[in-house]
Amino acid sequence: MIDFLALTVLLAGCFFIFAGTVGMLRLPDVYCRLHAMTKADNLGLLLICVSLSLLDGRPRTALLLLLVWLLALLASTVSAHLIARHSRARRPPTGNGPVDYDSAGSRR
């Protein structure tokens, strides 16, 4: 029973990460892509950590995986904020459609 539950949670996690990746590739704008990356991937990571701790069963690994998730959360929020702030400083959003360039600075 536990394995079945863990499997479904794992699949859900993989789906969210897949959604985040598709979002990053398809969405036109830096800001939209940041949304996709941070939100979907963090949720996906959480679900994967939950399923792994279910599979493993020991509370120690559950705590370790929780710490992993918290660190990933902290890192991704701060970096997403800095990227958004950095891109707004270089190309202020004009409001009339997506403003897009890749990180190397050459306009796509």
Binding site: L71, L74, A75, V78, L82, A104
Partner: protein, 311 residues
């Protein structure tokens, strides 16, 4: 085709895909980012092969620090001449492809024929596992690195010191490079430092302490601390200082000095050079090595003789 083989093939494909992006990718900055991803995929493969020490080391040093060093070097290139650093100076050539395929073929045949020969385990490895209990250590890698083949580690720490002194030859002539990121004064960034710094130091000490019995040790601990040093430099908590200070110079040298003592101290007691003096001596040497590695790698990132407090 068991599940393990499928996982291996997937991991292999990820690794080769990332390596292709690094070697053939168009943009230089993107190649560096893919190299960091390649380092992390490599750490995955090390853990798949059952070598956790290497997974830790490759993630911390191979992906983390090498990537950080390359990015700060790339940033200096962009600062000097923005357009020049994007220049696509690659000229595709069929000959290079032929040579590359031949090299890959050579390595593949060497590896596969070596695999196909009847391979009995190396007796050096067997002896390591056999004599490990005498040293009271649990982790065979730390046993090899510090007790049995400790002299290699001494020279390797000297190589790290040489890399730093060598880069001092070059950086004494140029201005100090700015290492802080834009927007480093944000309160958000300060909370990040406030949370991650103590945690990184804790993880570093933990890796050092369990190093003699479980995967860990001086190199992994030193590189985790160097990672937190890089974080401090990026967020302006620490800034590169132009003039070197005695304490920093001592910290650079203490690792190699401790290992020299490990070699020469047994002579005073009439024993063979580098005779095993018990776990305490190893822990002392590992702590000194951790300090040396952390300070050296952080200063290599900062490109300056020493550091000073930010605000």
């Amino acid at each position: 085709m068991t599940a393990a083989v499928v996982v291996d093939i997937l991991l292999g494909l990820i690794l080769v895909g990332l390596a292709a992006q690094v070697a053939i990718g168009k943009h230089l900055f993107r190649a560096i980012v893919f190299y960091v991803a390649f380092g992390l995929a490599m750490a995955l493969i090390w853990s798949r092969l059952g070598a956790p020490d290497l997974a830790l080391a490759d993630a911390a040093i191979g992906a983390g620090l090498t990537g950080a060093l390359m990015m700060v070097a790339f940033r200096q290139l962009v600062e000097i001449d923005p357009k020049q650093s994007q220049a696509q100076v690659t000229r595709g050539s069929a000959l290079a492809v032929v040579i590359a395929v031949l090299a890959a073929g050579m390595v593949a045949t060497i590896g596969l024929t070596a695999l196909s020969l009847e391979r009995q385990p190396g007796n050096a490895g067997l002896q390591v596992l056999a004599t490990l209990p005498d040293t009271g250590l649990g982790n065979p890698i730390t046993g090899v690195l510090l007790a049995f083949r400790g002299f290699d580690t001494l020279i390797e720490m000297t190589v790290l010191l040489t890399a730093f002194v060598g880069s001092r030859v070059i950086t004494t002539r140029s201005r100090l490079s700015v290492t802080t990121i834009s927007g480093f004064e944000l309160p958000l960034v300060r909370t990040l430092v406030a949370v991650i710094l103590p945690l990184a130091v804790l993880i570093g000490m933990h890796l050092l302490w369990i190093g003699s019995d479980q995967p860990g040790g001086a190199f992994q601990a030193g590189s985790v601390l160097a990672g937190s040093g890089v974080l401090l430099l990026l967020t302006g908590t620490l800034l590169p200082a132009p003039h070197s200070r005695a304490l920093v110079r001592l910290a650079l040298v203490v690792g190699v000095g401790a290992l020299c003592m490990l070699v020469l101290a047994p002579l005073l007691q009439g024993k063979v050079p580098m005779a095993y003096l018990g776990r305490g001596s190893l822990l002392f040497a590992e702590t000194a090595m951790m300090v040396s590695i952390a300070v050296t790698l952080t200063l290599l990132f900062a490109g300056s003789p020493s550091l000073k407090a930010g605000r």
